[in-house]
Amino acid sequence: MTTTAVTSAGIASEAPRSDFGRVLAQRERRFAAALLAPAFLALLATTTFPLLFLVYTSAFRMDLAMPFTNGFVGFENYQVLLSDERFWASLLVSLVYTGSTVALQVIIGLALALLVMDMKRGQGWFRVIAILPVVLSPAVVGMIWRTFMLAPEFGIVDFLAINAGLGSKNWLGDPTLAMVSVIAIHTWQWTPFAFMVLLASLASLPEDIYEAARLDRASAWQRFRRITLPLLRPAIVMVIIMRTMVALTAFAAIFTVTAGGPGTATEILNLYAYRKSFTELSIGYGSALAVALLIVTIIISGLLFAMRRAK
């Protein structure tokens, strides 16, 4: 459309013709830009602007409880943050929470997928049932676990613990158990996702190479180590990337179950930023915490994507 066809018109008529083409091309670009503009502006307004504003506010003291101290402070918030023990503690909680939930999701998801692949009947039902936790809202999942599963004496988990001779435990009151509980809840909700992705990937592996491996005298474990795992690697890395990004920024489930407690035992960085901003009303410092979380997330996903590209 925008290129001009030079035929027998000669050089004389070529100049105005290509001018015409340039005008056309320009118009087309403008039209395309006009079509893109609304979506682009909406994106800018809802993602880029808040992010930039977040970085901006992190350079201010903005304390709603003591507004008279407000003002520009430069990097002071970040200096405070680096020597803030609660920040480092919450970062550690975030990393433990993310690392263990993602590892558990991949391991359990893969184990389930391998089991279900061998099921002769009922695969479809298993898939439907397995996917149910994923469709629930994390807040709802948190409520279900807090009341139905973990409540002392009445919850299913506590009931099982009592019957197993472990005795009733304060699942959400004990710092270690609370951490274990929130990790278990997240794993429970999101393992089906890993399971579904890995099952689809497993189902696409050709059967004949497993027969060849059997004739090559590979044991079941060797077939898994040498054939299944390497062939599933792209899917596993993808699951790790997607789940890590979500786990790092998890909020609703922990908020509804422990709200970061007891004390700060389950306070991930995200929750700390929230508490700082909206409970302690220190918006400036909360913003700095959120920026720190953003940086951590970017670094970790950068590493994961590098891992994906590597052989």
Binding site: D208, I209, E211, A212, R214, L215, Q222, R226, L231
Partner: protein, 350 residues
Amino acid sequence: MSGQGQVSFRNIVKMHGEFAALKGVNFDIKPGEFFALLGPSGSGKSTTLRILAGLDAPTAGRVLIDDKDVTSTDARDRDIAMVFQSYALYPHMTVAENIAFPLEMAKLPKSEIAPAVKDAARKVKIDHLLDRKPGQLSGGQQQRCALARAIVRKARLFLLDEPLSNLDAKLRLETRAELKKLQRSLGVTAVYVTHDQEEAMTLADRMAVFMSGEIQQVGTPAEVFARPNSIDIAGFIGNPPMNLVPARYVDGDVIIAGHRLKTTATTAGERDVVVGLRPGALRLAEGGLGARVDLIEDLGDTAVLDLDCAGTMIRMRVADGNIPGEGDTISITARPQDIHLFDPATRRRL
């Protein structure tokens, strides 16, 4: 090479639900033999190979390898190497890693694996491709890689499931000859599944012809070609296959379309028979069976004529030089020893 590789199938039955894929199969393979399982698709030849490999279990019957009952032995423990129709190469491993895999599983030291891999790759002429992945190889190269992986192990039995069917015609002919040389030089027992009778005829020392889950005949290619023992085999072997013409047998003669032909084959008294005539055994001769030439398929050095003998279609192969024209009326005959007789009811040879 273990120098063994004797195989016996004893009344092997394989059921898929109600359907009998194998209806009691018996055969013996001698050590060092190149044995072909030949048959049309769905005749049970691949099932037989998979049962021999231990990939499928028979519903009934016994499989013996070197006089040992291996019916319930896992594929891993049978010491069998196999080339799959799809090649079944490990896609994430290089050619070298693919070939080394069976040796690694056998826990051979690394110092022995590398030279063995090189040696196997050289035998099938892919030693320049060792660092490639299967996805970067052509079909023929993949096939060679699968061959190398199978021969590197020096297993006692070497199974090939239609290994040439995914190659183009020219490559198939080349590889066929190489395969035969390779098997001879290795001295290993080979079992070869194919639906291509030409492959079976050229490669095999002996072959078993499968028809709908049963073995119809076992013998050398020459025997099966010369004396097919049923109408089905007669109609399957040979290109074009044997003409099968309903006729009447009257003491030493067969009567086809009103014409008498002498035969050396004998049967009791006077009865209906099916006469088998190889297209290449028919001759042009005065005073023979009259026929009109319907169609000529010229193959260059020979031609195949479709003849109409009073309503019966007969195909005849003639050498270049004396090809009649389409529409001509000719007269044909056959030597008495070239006339095969079959029972139309039992479909067996008489």
